[in-house]
Amino acid sequence: MNLDSLLPNLGEWLRGTGPESDVVISTRIRLARNLAHLPFATRATSAHKADVVARVKEAITHAPPAHPLEYVDIPQLSHLDRQFLVERQLISRELAGGLEGPRGVAFDPTETASVMVNEEDHLRLQVLRSGFALDEAWHDIDQLDDALETRLSYAFHIQFGYLTACPTNVGTGMRASVMLHLPALGLTKQIDKVFRALQKINLAVRGLHGEGSRAFGDLYQISNHVTLGKSETKILSEIREVIITILQYERQARQVLLKERKQAEQDRVARAIGTLSSATMITAEETMELLSAVRLGIHLHLIDSIPVTAVNQLFIHTQAAHLQKLAGHPLDGEERNAARAKYLKTKLRELSLPRP
């Protein structure tokens, strides 16, 4: 598969139109699964891993799930292509770089469903959808799981459930995470309070790229921690309740901003667009922060010239690997900052032209 064909498109999750998409960017559910009678990743030889790859490839071709999946072999990809898949949320940083041996990812053309092979677990199924869509995501991944299971024999224990390499995932093997854009809670300095409350009820909060990553551009991922002792439906309904509460807080904070400092917000958004469309060097971090202001401006109806899909496109295309793919050649740090600024300038100029 030529990954360049993905470049002009946005993955389904970045469509920006799902339920509650003024606050919820995307919903992701992943299931950890392992094959019976085979060692887990840390004890697997190259031959074991090749065996896992062969079995999964066989399963995705012979039991075609609702989403047709295509397999991409990671060791055969360049460093740039691997990073590209990380930015598109199709693989983890570990699968891209930290791990060795036969491994890969299968995903469908809309980039909704994917299966990582030989990550920490033999299989990591993922469904990624736009907006707040826990039920839809669960429906999809449950089906995908059933379809694969007709061809694969999973490691399952009557007491402990689905067996995983790490005991933090055993049971359902499910991690559901919802990516939220919370600029108003940040601006009104309430965000820490919200997160302290979340940690108390055993939900994890992380930045855009998962564990240990910083929260850039007011984007946060909230996910369940517990995987054993509760059904998938129960776990999902607990997350849903919490997200609904955070949604309300964020919307209230946005209303407060509009009421008490509309002028100042308008100015902040205008300055963000100003910097994005006139800078000649800009880092990915600064781009994310400024795009966050623009996104908030759109949802507060302070600007109407830029659609939210365009913000999502700028957001993904200004990340390092995407920029280099667009340029067609590798770029070092400084060159990237210049290329990023140039890309933003061009795109924003196109958007401000009167539409035919």
């Binding site: 049971g171 054993l228 509760k230 059904s231 998938e232």
Partner: protein, 159 residues
């Protein structure tokens, strides 16, 4: 109330009911800590149930008696992972480790998930096997309506 071991005021009170027999233990904090009922700070303040049980069964072991160890699993015969290796890396080597290291695993799961029992989805193959077993039982008991209901469920699942 005084500590049952030394004479300091008892501040840790433990009650255990096994086979409808109630046992109580009253200790001062120091004695409780010495018997590893409370972990050393700054570890989480949580009761070590195994240590508690042991103490309730035999609160005052003779001084000469060697410390009785709960059998510690050495590891897994299939993948060769030892308990100490697991403790170092935090990852299992194969599905069998869940049985081989069960006694060390269960307290860990209790801490992470506050549970030891899966309550979610079951693979289709296992659901089928269970339904077929139930259907056969129904046939043996001549409960044909129930058997037919189960047969329909099985057909649905096999589709």
């Amino acid at each position: 109330m005084k500590c049952q071991i030394c004479d300091n005021p008892a501040t840790v009170h433990l009650t255990d009911i096994v086979n409808k027999k109630k046992r109580e233990l009253h200790l001062c904090e120091r004695c409780a800590r010495e018997r590893k009922l409370i972990p050393e700070p700054p570890a989480q303040q949580q009761l070590d149930l195994k240590a508690l049980l042991k103490l309730l069964m035999n609160p005052f072991p003779a001084a000469t008696e060697a410390e009785e160890e709960t059998p510690v699993p050495w590891g897994c015969e299939i993948c060769g992972l030892s308990l100490s290796e697991f403790k170092a890396v935090g990852r299992f080597g194969c599905p069998n480790d869940y049985e081989a290291l069960r006694s060390a695993l269960e307290p860990l799961l209790e801490r992470i998930h506050r549970s030891l029992h899966h309550a979610g989805k079951t693979p289709r193959a296992i659901r089928l096997r269970e339904l077929k077993r139930q259907m056969q039982q129904a046939v043996v008991k001549e409960e044909y309506e129930e058997a037919a209901r189960l047969r329909d469920l099985i057909r649905q699942l096999e589709k």
